[in-house]
Amino acid sequence: MGKYIYMDNSATTPVKQEVLDEMLPYFNIKYGNPSSIYSLGSQSKNAVEISREKIAKVLNAKTKEIFFTAGGSESDNWALKGVAFANKDKGNHIITSKIEHHGILHTCEYLKKQGFDITYLDVDEYGLIDLDQLKEAITDKTILISIMFANNEIGTIQPIEEVSRIAKEKGVYFHTDAVQAVGHIEIDVNELNIDLLSMSAHKFYGPKGIGALYIRQGVKIDPLISGGAQEGNRRAGTENLPSIVGMAKAIELAYENLNENNARLIKLRDKLIDKILKNIDYVRLNGHPINRLPGNVNVCFEFIEGESLLLSLDMEGIAASSGSACTSGSLEPSHVLLAIGLPHEIAHGSLRLSLGDFNTEEEVDFVVEKLIEIVARLRAMSPLYEKIKEGK
């Protein structure tokens, strides 16, 4: 079998060696609490502020507009709950889409229980929202629009610039869950008119459990975690020093060679897509053919179920993911696949291969080879495929 082939980079990524090297001294040498005034403490404070600056620079934000959190989910919760509660005198209506991450959707459900109204925008077969539907949805009670930058399952990139222009015209805050986009796509929060943006380091070769929320200066938002005076009094808790330093290093690395990296990834991605579509029948590509994340491949194999596909791939040393219900312990397949119009039985046969910096062309070839075998084997076992062959 040889080396393990990791094609689930949208789920998480390994911490790059350069990132880990940067982090290490902060565990047990430069371990001072950034709030402490002695030298060991102010050294830590400096490290936090330099990290904040690095992240701000990449996004063209101001340094003081970056707030560290424990990851994408906290950032999403903070953005939504924080803006909702701080602006409830202005209105109680929030607009989002049907294909957001659960970090957004479940938070919206919570806000609904607290008296907020939520509109969930539809998406088309490629996963794109409809800008006209968005415009029509805005009322004088709308306080926030939250549309993800790029979808974690099907990779579709939304027309963020247009969304934020509409939000700005109507004087509504615009938040984007950019957890899958930061580190992978060029983002300028000013050019794109973004008010709040969520990110998470482990999606771009930084450590797990650290993220940030960009909050444009002047945006009215309550804290989610109150307490100490950290993060300009807006997010309490002793700073996760090594992870903050690691996140900054990781984002720097990600944007250092973004264009070359992405060119390579897109080539790999398109090769993988092409080979799958050519060599296997009854398969369809999910997500937008062009406006998609550089590393994202998402396909549905009819007549087979995703979990057995993943287990079979794992047996060959290949890590991937699926939107099948069986992989999550829930009964429903992925809400994203249903939202783009897939029938349940086809959604169950979905496979996401998300490519990253460490994947090679040889791996792509190997994976396709194995996929052909596995799909054939599972279909041979499938009573659904049998019917097709018999022409029923």
């Binding site: 007549f303 312990g329 397949p333 349940h344 041979a380 076992m381 499938s382």
Partner: protein
């Protein structure tokens, strides 16, 4: 997540396939829910002399089907009727709680195939009076 037994039956499922001239065929599950099991029985003198299955579903669905066929092969109809989902799960050294419905599906596939046999041959099988092959197995979780 899965026991070695489950993985073994998933990797090398026993009795996969169809029986051309089956005496009883049962199909349970629902593609919407991501699992369909189809079971073929060859019965002679009240004994299940051959059994095959086809399954669309997750790893534990495939393993449960495989294990169920192993258990009932060579058994009498009465013995096969006594095979519970728990027996299938136990024979697999257990299933994760969220996957117990797969073993229920396997039990139902057996019963469903036996029901088909009983109807075709116009006989009564004790225990199948109230059996409903279309019952939603996910309720059993």
């Amino acid at each position: 997540m899965y026991s070695e037994k489950v993985m073994d039956h998933f990797k090398n499922p026993r009795n996969v396939g169809e029986i051309e001239d089956a005496d009883g065929i049962g199909e349970v599950g629902n593609p919407r829910c991501g699992d369909i099991m189809k079971m073929y029985l060859k019965i002679e003198d009240g004994i299940i002399i051959d059994v095959k299955f086809k399954t669309f579903g997750c790893g534990s669905a495939i393993a449960s089907s495989s294990m169920a066929t192993e258990i009932i092969k060579g058994k009498s109809i009465d013995e096969a009727m006594k095979v519970t989902n728990k027996a299938v799960a136990e024979a697999l050294d257990g299933l994760p709680p969220v996957k117990m419905h797969c073993s229920v599906l396997a039990e139902q596939a057996i019963k469903s195939a036996l029901l088909d046999y009983s109807r075709k041959n116009n006989i009564q099988i004790e225990g199948l009076e109230d059996f409903n092959p279309n019952e939603d197995v996910h309720e059993h979780q």
